[in-house]
């Protein structure tokens, strides 16, 4: 492999990592801060992609961004409503919304499961025209992804230090304490999920436009991929300030994509992506648990041995 191939590989991983990093930042807010595992992520990602594509195809490339984010807000609001006001378990609420979104997404795409944007003006083609002749020529994907990620991280770093942001973090930490502080945890959960899903929608919108097509499966498994990225990022930059941890989340997304792209290079079949992400999530979550259980396991083994010996003697 020559240097150009390697840098090409890194750039691909960087682009994809940054775009999916927006979903990782969404989970950073909902999973790490609000302590809600939002399983509507897959559907919401596709929703953002579909809405963004439809709006772009109808001739409004810039409008596609707020439209996709707005669709995400609505989806997050419904998920929040189900779990805070209707007594539906938060995991189940996510799954229900995810299932419902499948139909919504097909409807949004005009009863089709595939939309093509080959000739559509998107934010990427606009940026490409803008960058023509500058040193960044041809890097429109990277530039847009970087801008989006930087804005979202900046937003999170500022927002999570506001009183509302603190209340959202406290809701994931100790809802009793939130109530004692005269704040309604229903409100904080709702605001948190609306914001996080708007990032997921944005992520889907950008991915669809960067690959110039959207199909109904574009978001499938996204929640696991993003969770894997989040947990990888946690391992590197899991402590410290919010901004550092948010950067860690995006770094995790990049590392995940890099490893994946390299694996593809070594002839790993593309369909293994989801298996890899599942295994990473299992290792990242089960690992610390099993490590904690290890002394007990050792105790059990040694206990069995000594007791067995003693028992044997007594029998004899």
């Amino acid at each position: 492999m020559n240097a150009a191939a390697i840098s090409g590989l890194v750039f691909t991983a960087l682009e994809l990592g940054l775009i999916s990093g927006l979903t990782v930042l969404a989970l950073f807010l909902s999973y790490s801060m609000l302590n809600v595992c939002d399983l509507s992520t897959d559907g919401c990602f596709t929703l953002g992609a579909a809405v963004g594509a439809v709006v772009a195809i109808s001739g409004h490339p810039y409008l596609s961004i707020p439209a996709a984010m707005g669709a995400g807000v609505v989806s997050g609001f419904v998920t929040a409503l189900l779990q805070t006001r209707m007594g539906i378990n938060s995991l189940l609420a996510g799954i229900i919304v995810n299932t419902g979104l499948y139909s919504v997404n097909i409807a949004v795409m005009g009863n089709s499961s595939l939309l093509n944007m080959n000739k559509t003006e998107t934010v990427f083609t606009k940026m490409k025209a803008l960058l023509d002749g500058t040193p960044l020529d041809g890097q429109s994907k990277l530039v847009i992804a970087l801008i989006a990620v930087a804005l979202v991280i900046l937003f999170l770093a500022l927002f999570l230090r506001t009183r509302l942001g603190l209340a959202i973090r406290a809701t994931g930490n100790n809802p009793d304490m939130v109530r004692s502080s005269s704040i309604n945890p229903v409100m904080t959960t709702t605001v948190g999920l609306c914001i996080s899903n708007s990032f997921t929608g944005l992520s889907g919108c950008l991915l669809a436009q960067s690959q110039k097509s959207v199909n109904i499966d574009i978001g499938t498994g996204m929640v696991t991929v993003a969770l894997a990225s989040l947990l990888i990022g946690n391992a590197f930059l899991g402590k410290g300030k919010i901004a550092v941890r948010a950067i860690g989340a995006v770094l995790g997304a990049f590392i995940f994509r890099l490893v994946y792209t390299i694996a593809l290079r070594f002839n790993m079949p593309a369909f293994m992506l989801k298996m890899v992400s599942s295994v990473i999530v299992i290792i990242a979550i089960a690992g610390p648990y099993l490590k904690e259980q290890f002394p007990l396991l050792r105790r059990r083994l040694t206990h069995g041995r000594t007791e067995g010996r003693r028992g044997g003697r007594a029998d004899a």
Partner: protein, 272 residues
Amino acid sequence: MLEISGISKTFNPGTVNARLALDRVSLSVREGDFITIIGANGAGKSTLLNAISGDFITDEGKIVLDGDDVTLAPPHMRARRIGRLYQDPMRGTAPGMSIEENLTLAAGYGGWLSHITAADRKRFREKLALLDMGLEDRMSQPVGLLSGGQRQALTLMMATINPPKLLLLDEHTAALDPGAADKVLSLTESIVREQRLTCLMVTHNMQSALDLGNRTIMMNQGRIIFDEEGSARAGLTVGDLLDRFRQDAGKNLDNDRMLLSEEQGGGRHAHA
């Protein structure tokens, strides 16, 4: 100040586990009252505090706090005027957030989008210094690193940083080691005195129930069976309380009486 009239609550109604936890309880609390509440396990002491703070809506009756009918108000609305400490020191604070972040939420200064200001930090430092636990130098550390006593003292600070109309203490020193319990209790006394707070305190320790505050009520089977203050209360001993309990509670309550005596012994031990 706080008018409770005829509130009742049955848990698990219509099942074999149905339990009348509050039985037409009425209580009139005056501004500045410091009421200690005693009673056996399951007498309804904590349930009464939960009813006041809105953890559940009562089946009947009325709760008027500071002139407003709060009978149906959700807990976070009542919390504007009620400060509260639980037995579990972990319940009142968010462990993953720093001391100053916890205090900010409790204090509620500024709008939703405001950040912690230097003035806030200065105010928090001064407040924390009063606890004399060195917390003022650890304001950016996560609360999860603090001991149970420190967390409970911090919760007390958070509950009273905006002087509440009513302070509810639910055996807030029972889970602490004796040294920390004494410290938190004396802090409680001084804060209640300085801010002239109206306070309801559930305790298992009958001696401190008589030592603290100006009024003592005893509960049994969801009812208030005893309510003394002033000179009538001044001369009471723990023995008198036990006698009153025996006399009021009737004869079929040997188990409850034993619980009370036992807890009193334990309380004394903890106090020593």
